[in-house]
Symmetry: C2
Subunit: 311 residues, 2 copies
């Protein structure tokens, strides 16, 4: 699983940063979190294919988070997409996306499945969940978690080979949790297969004031991507407009037990956001200012079972 | 007067070209013809200031021609714009632009004055006219002409000095078309001031099939900016989708007596559009494929009076 930042500027683009869009590539599919104006072209300038986008999550309906949607849908159509596209966002998304697509005098070649989400909703996406909480901002805004389901436990190849079990159907039975009889002995699956391993968890806040409610929602996440519009000296102003400073984002990362923090929605006032990164690192050392086209491979967690209550 | 191409790709962007937008800088104001997604960032990457845009003309409501509008309005607001912004387009523009601005949960800080135009309409903009005709495309589409009004005739400084008239109020009277008495002689304005000189004329087609109706509309223009989606070998396909080939654009340029032809809306299938330029040059030698950020200063016409019927 890999995160590619396609837009990291706050409110408006700058020559060096486009507006909000974060692509999460997982296997052959891409989950896109926010889709600011120009996202389709950011895809073209990245190594990713926008044709692999299966789901688009819109945090809220400020232009810098959703205005790339109709153009992306149009370009997918011009590239003969036929697979349905899932689009999720806060209350009003069904109506808003429909209006947005209707305004363009262009009929998509595929179905858009649009869904309003409420804080607390969980969407089962097969191998992972998309979970939702609210982010306090100027307008209704959602934070999203992508949480992989438990992965099968580690298969102890050495042990099973030592028992002389031949590769093939018996291995599969064990992996699927069934006991196996071999040369008069019963082998229990838990002898060979370790406990289920936790998946990865990525949390994106959208635009948000510092939000204590995020701490349990994002607990022990592998990656926290947090609004960090300003450095700490401009914190009051950031909060006034429904945003966070880098220091505040880092405080949340620390309390939630995140493994790594990426700061995004950087105000275009910052040419080089050194001050922002320094503010965050002072609180939470593993903080990084995201940059357009920056890629982060999310490591697989170790074999030990994860906190199952999270999954 | 200077033309800056901000987006020259057809239907969707490519890594090297953004979608349609053409800025015409005239004095301290910019007239923007089409405003595809990402135009605000193209402004930021150009030498122009988007804050100088006084009028936006939308040729038609396909996404690659108008989806940059709400983001540009939002960014102008975030930069504290207070001057009204004029927005013109085909029938339905008032309704469409209002919906588009309403979808964004963001209130502009300035007034948008939106107006539906019909083929044949002429908007008096003080020193120039904006004139409109229709372009045959898949959906209602307009072509635009920016026509400067007559400029005052050339002031013959040598002659007036030889007559001994002192610089000052008498010069102004002559320039304003009044006779002047000096040392017992009556000096008529036409003795000193030449006939009014024609202004410049720039025509932009929007998306269009080859259109004979454009020939009189664009007659003797200084610059013709024409849809040239494909090279001539793909002409049939271009026409089927309401576009022109480069050869067809050049044919119109030739018949209309344009001084220079810029080809735009280049299909993203062309990495290097050499074939497109060659096709056009074979018919109309002064043809050029526009590129993003290409600038063209429109020369002032010579002193001779222009065809007054045009103005």
């Amino acid at each position: 699983m890999e995160i590619v930042f396609l837009g990291t500027s706050g409110s408006m683009p700058s020559p060096h940063r486009n507006v909000s869009a974060i692509a999460i590539k997982r296997g052959g599919e891409i989950i896109l979190m926010d889709c600011g104006e120009g996202t389709q072209r950011q895809f073209m300038l990245s190594k990713l294919s926008f044709m692999q986008v299966s789901r688009i999550l819109i945090s809220h309906f400020h232009g810098d988070h959703f205005l790339g949607l109709p153009g992306l849908v149009m370009t997918m159509s011009l590239n003969d997409r036929t697979e349905p596209l899932e689009i999720y966002g806060p209350t009003g998304t069904v109506r808003t996306v429909q209006s947005l697509l209707d305004i363009n005098l262009f009929k998509p070649t595929f179905e858009t499945r649009v869904r309003d989400l409420e804080p607390g909703d969980e969407v089962d996406c097969g191998e992972y969940w998309l979970k939702v909480t609210d982010s306090p901002h100027q307008v209704p805004c959602l934070a999203f978690a992508l949480e992989e389901k438990l992965r099968p436990g580690r298969f102890n190849l050495e042990k099973v080979q030592a028992l002389g079990v031949p590769e093939g159907p018996l291995y599969r039975k064990l992996q699927q949790g069934h006991a196996v009889d071999w040369e008069g002995k019963r082998i229990a699956p838990e002898d060979i297969v370790g406990p289920p391993r936790r998946g990865r968890k990525i949390v994106y806040t959208g635009d948000t004031r510092p939000n204590e409610g995020l701490v349990p929602f994002a607990r022990n996440c592998d990656v926290l991507i947090h609004d960090a519009t300003t450095e700490s000296t401009l914190e009051e102003q950031a909060n006034k407009y429904g945003h966070s400073s880098a220091r505040q984002a880092a405080g949340i990362a620390k309390r939630t037990g995140a493994a790594v923090l990426f700061l995004t929605h950087i105000s275009p006032r910052y040419g080089d956001p050194e001050a922002i990164e320094a503010d965050a690192k002072a609180v939470f050392p593993n903080s990084h200012v995201a940059r357009d086209f920056f890629e982060y491979k999310v490591p697989l967690p170790d074999g030990e079972p994860g906190p199952q209550k999270e999954l």
